[in-house]
Structures are given as structure tokens and as C-alpha cells.
């Protein structure tokens, strides 16, 4: 009873044990809502499972690997590009360029396809270009913001320790903000999956879960669509967890001051 009150009060820090109970309860509740939901558009768990099984036979695993590989490649490239560009904003010359890049967020992906098709030699390349572009414009915006909001005191500390300006950039901007960089990466890597299905719809030569999803969508195979969405969700969660884990290992200081660490 006491714990129930704790769980429902603001700004409470609850024990790991309580968290487990609470989340378990919420999952069961969600499951029941799913089963007993009167909506006909919501396929039942059994149907979803069957659809999943069927698609697995048809090679869902392979498609997942294709998509995962593409996404990984895109995220890696986007990370390199975006971090590089964001760090370059320490040099005034690059600031307008990065500002411009971040404004490209407003461009639609479909409108870019033509341009990138001319540049790419394969379908894979086209998808990669599109993904890298659309993730990078958001990534660079977030990271440039992180760099811009470093307080003056941090730079002064490095300077009073006899660091030259390049060393200051390394210490304060690059490794000093590594934990924030991981956080921005995490947000944008999630966006990769969202855009992936779109890109795979634009160029279907290689297949991938996105192409599969669009196919099932076209034929109104709701349970199959549901199954694919669930699979993507699980994969995304795993990816998110992995990045979070990496962050904790590389930046153990990051969460020390948080109440809900």
C-alpha cells in the first residue's frame, strides 16, 4: 500500500524492486487491453504471432539483417559527419555552413530522391545517402546546440591550465561533451529506424523490412504489419539500450548527479 502511494507521488525515487513490479503490472495491463480491445483494426496476439511465423519462413530474418546493416552503416556515417561538422563550429568560418545544414531539416526526403539518384550508383548507395542526409541534418543541429551552450567558464578553466586553443577544443568540446554526444546520438539513431522504412520504400531493389512493411500495408495484412512494427520496435529498443550501455561505460560520470539515475 505504501509503495502504491510512493509510485503515485511526484518526484519519488523508487527502488529497483518496485520499478520491476510496476513495469510488470503495466505490461500485463497493456496486454489485457490489447486482448480485450473491441477495435476490429487491432489484430489479436495470436494472429500477429502467426503472421510473424509466416514471414519468418519467407525470410524476415534476412530482411532484418539487410535493414539493420543499412541502418548501422548510415548511423556510423551520420555520426562521423555530424560530430565533425558540429565540432567545426568552434571555427567561425564554419558556423554559417552548419547553420545552413541544420536548416535543411525542412527539406522533404522525396524531393531529395532525384538529386541523390543522380549521385548514387546502386540502390544501396541511394538509400544510404538519403538516410545519412536525413539523420545528419537533425544530428548536426542537436550537437551544434550542445557545443554552443558550453559555458565560458569551461573554456577559461582549460586556458588557465595552459592549454592551447586546439587542446581546449579537444578537452572541453570533444571529450568534455562526450556524454551529451552519446545522448544526441541515441535520439538520432532512433530516428534512423523511422526513416529507414521510408527510404526502403523509395528504393526497393534490396528489400529490407521497410519494403516488406509497405508490401503488407498495400495488401491490408494488418497482423503482418503489426508483427513487423513490433519486430522493429524490439530491435530499436535493443539498439537504444546498447548505445546507453556504451555511454555508461565510456562516461561513468554522466548520471552521477541525476535523481533518477
Amino acid at each position: 500500500m505504501n509503495q502504491a502511494i510512493e509510485v503515485l507521488s511526484p518526484n519519488r525515487v523508487i527502488s529497483k524492486q518496485t520499478v520491476r513490479w510496476m513495469v510488470g503490472f503495466q505490461l500485463v495491463l497493456l496486454f489485457f487491453i490489447w486482448i480485450f480491445s473491441p477495435t476490429v483494426f487491432l489484430p489479436k496476439p495470436k494472429e500477429v504471432l502467426n503472421a510473424l511465423n509466416e514471414m519468418w519462413m519467407e525470410g524476415l530474418g534476412g530482411e532484418l539483417i539487410t535493414s539493420f546493416y543499412l541502418n548501422l552503416q548510415a548511423i556510423a556515417l551520420a555520426t562521423l559527419l555530424s560530430l565533425g561538422m558540429a565540432y567545426l563550429t568552434v571555427i567561425p568560418f564554419f558556423r554559417p555552413i552548419v547553420t545552413l545544414l541544420s536548416k535543411l531539416r525542412f527539406l522533404s526526403m522525396v524531393g531529395l530522391t532525384f538529386f541523390f539518384t543522380l549521385m548514387a550508383t546502386t540502390g544501396h548507395e541511394l538509400k544510404l545517402f538519403l538516410l545519412v542526409f536525413s539523420v545528419s541534418v537533425f544530428f548536426v543541429t542537436g550537437m551544434a546546440e550542445v557545443v554552443a551552450s558550453i559555458p565560458k567558464e569551461k573554456y577559461d578553466l582549460a586556458r588557465t591550465l595552459r592549454m592551447g586553443e586546439w587542446r581546449v577544443v579537444y578537452e572541453v568540446v570533444i571529450i568534455g561533451q562526450a556524454d551529451k554526444a552519446f545522448e544526441v546520438l541515441r535520439q538520432n539513431a532512433a530516428m534512423g529506424w523511422m526513416m529507414l522504412t521510408m527510404v526502403e520504400g523509395i528504393s526497393r531493389s534490396e528489400g529490407g523490412v521497410g519494403a516488406m512493411l509497405l508490401n503488407q500495408n498495400k495488401h491490408f495484412h494488418l497482423s503482418a504489419v503489426f508483427a513487423i512494427q513490433l519486430t522493429i520496435l524490439l530491435l530499436g529498443l535493443a539498439q537504444d539500450y546498447a548505445i546507453g550501455l556504451l555511454r555508461t561505460v565510456v562516461c561513468p560520470y554522466a548520471d552521477l548527479t541525476l535523481e533518477r539515475k
Binding site: 567558464e153 569551461k154 577559461d156 578553466l157 586556458r159 588557465t160 591550465l161 595552459r162 592549454m163 578537452e171 571529450i175 568534455g176 562526450a178 556524454d179 562516461c251 561513468p252 560520470y253 552521477l256 548527479t257
Partner: protein
């Protein structure tokens, strides 16, 4: 009175002026700190730097630290014929910044390595300071895991390890309780007396604390026109030599009436700045 003599000039503020958009903030500021030599022991220097709020203490502080350039004039140290550069003068800012992504040990090593290229020697020096300032068991913690006082000591050591005997402290007494205030004063004098050339400038609003810890006081103020209105641009309006007045280096000085008289004198002068 203890016997002492003055040695060479350690720090010289030479006709420094500072303007922002044509508005004068500092006008012809000149001051100097000389080595105080006592024959029987190592004696460092502590200057208390006082002035009303908004007068330009922080601005002069940043110029002495080499972090900002004055509009005209210059600050030199150790008789060098060029303006001071960032890093030569240690700066302990008010909130004791440290590199949050490094442990205490790593924060100090990175500072020590700037002067001592030999890793082993740098490490030994850091360990010696950590032990001296009761932080050795905190070496593996991150700055956020330190208490306020531990963080202060860590920030002071970091700057001492890297600077050329100079240390500027911005408001080290603000927000401290009586016990911590006494401890901080002791700490300042202890750091000052680690080396004959060590020189600490303490910027503060606390006149009593400054008088208790310093051997010289600088008061910053403005000129006034005949009708008593302050003119823009401040300079060092008054300096007090506490050694000459025999108010320095006595353990229990702050309890003595002549010390209290002196503080009152400074306070009266402060009101006219």
C-alpha cells in the same frame, strides 16, 4: 614586529585601462606586489582585493589572469618584458570549476603534466598534494562526488600545480559558515607559504576576512567630481600595508582591539569609494 625585507617585484599592474564600447571601466590602474623576505622562514604573499560591487574587480582579475586584454597598459609577472599569458597565473573561480569528465586524480595530473613532463614526477607531486590536503582517498572520485570544501581544495591544487606561483581567487569566502571561513583562511595562508614566491590575490567583499588573511589590501574605487558624484572608470584608490602596521602573521590577531580598529578604518574608507 617581525623582521622582513622586500625582494624583487613579482607582479606589476602597469597603467591598465579598460573600456567597453567607449565606456571606461578601469582607468590607469597601477599596483605591484613584491616578494616579502623573512630570513627565518618561507614567507609567501597574500593580497586582499576589495571594492564595492560593480567597480571592476572581476574585470581586473581577468586581465591579471591573462584571460582578457586591457584596452591600454599591461600586466607583467616575474620581471618579464611581455604581458602575462593565460596559464601563468592560476585562477580559482567562484564556483570551483573542474573537468567533470575526469576524476580528481586525472584533473590534477593533467594540470601537473603541463609543467612537469616526466609522468612519474608529476604523479608523485600530485600524490604529495593530495595527501597534504587530505584528498588522497578521493583521488578516484569524480568532481560531482566531492563536498564543497573538497572541491575547493581540489580546484586550488589544480591551479597551483600548473601556475607560476600565482593564484587568483574570486570570492573564496562567499557563502561559507564561520568554521569553513576560518579553514579557508588557513588554507590560503598555507598555500601561500608553500613557497617563497607564492603569491595569492583574494578578491572579496568580506573586509574582516581579507584583513585577517592578507599582508596587503588593495581598495578599488572611483574618482569623484567636486559635487561628490563618482566619475566613470575605477582605479586602486587605497593600499594598506598590514606588515608595517604589525597586523600580520599573528595567530590570534583578529581578536585584538587594534585589528578591529584597523577593520573599522578600512570600512570607513570603503564607504567613500
Amino acid at each position: 614586529m617581525p623582521s622582513y625585507t622586500y625582494g624583487k617585484t613579482l607582479l606589476k599592474v602597469d597603467d591598465v585601462s579598460l573600456e567597453y564600447d567607449g565606456r571606461p571601466i578601469l582607468k590607469h590602474v597601477s599596483a605591484e606586489i613584491r616578494d616579502i623576505i623573512c630570513t627565518d622562514h618561507v614567507q609567501g604573499q597574500v593580497v586582499g582585493f576589495l571594492g564595492p560591487s560593480g567597480i571592476g574587480k572581476t574585470q581586473l582579475f581577468r586581465i591579471i589572469a591573462g584571460l582578457n586584454k586591457p584596452t591600454t597598459g599591461r600586466v607583467t609577472i616575474n620581471g618579464a618584458d611581455r604581458p602575462v599569458q593565460a596559464g601563468e597565473v592560476g585562477v580559482v573561480a567562484q564556483d570551483y570549476p573542474l573537468f567533470e569528465h575526469r576524476t580528481v586524480m586525472s584533473n590534477l595530473l593533467i594540470a601537473a603534466n603541463q609543467k612537469e613532463k616526466d609522468d612519474k614526477a608529476a604523479h608523485d607531486k600530485v600524490v604529495q598534494y593530495l595527501t597534504e590536503f587530505e584528498l588522497i582517498d578521493k583521488a578516484r572520485l569524480y568532481p560531482v562526488q566531492l563536498s564543497g570544501g573538497q572541491r575547493q581544495r581540489c580546484a586550488i591544487i589544480q591551479q597551483i600545480l600548473c601556475s607560476d606561483h600565482f593564484l587568483l581567487m574570486d570570492e573564496p569566502f562567499s557563502g561559507l559558515d564561520l568554521l569553513m571561513l576560518e579553514k579557508t583562511s588557513e588554507l590560503i595562508q598555507k598555500v601561500a607559504n608553500l613557497d617563497e614566491l607564492n603569491t595569492i590575490i583574494v578578491v572579496t567583499h568580506d573586509i574582516t576576512a581579507a584583513a585577517a588573511v592578507a599582508d596587503h589590501l588593495w581598495l578599488m574605487g572611483r574618482e569623484h567630481d567636486p559635487s561628490g558624484n563618482p566619475l566613470p572608470g575605477s582605479h586602486i584608490a587605497e593600499t594598506y600595508d598590514l606588515i608595517e602596521r604589525d597586523l600580520c602573521w599573528h595567530p590570534q590577531i583578529i581578536t585584538q582591539p587594534r585589528f578591529m580598529d584597523f577593520v573599522r578604518e578600512v570600512k570607513d574608507r570603503f564607504r567613500t569609494l
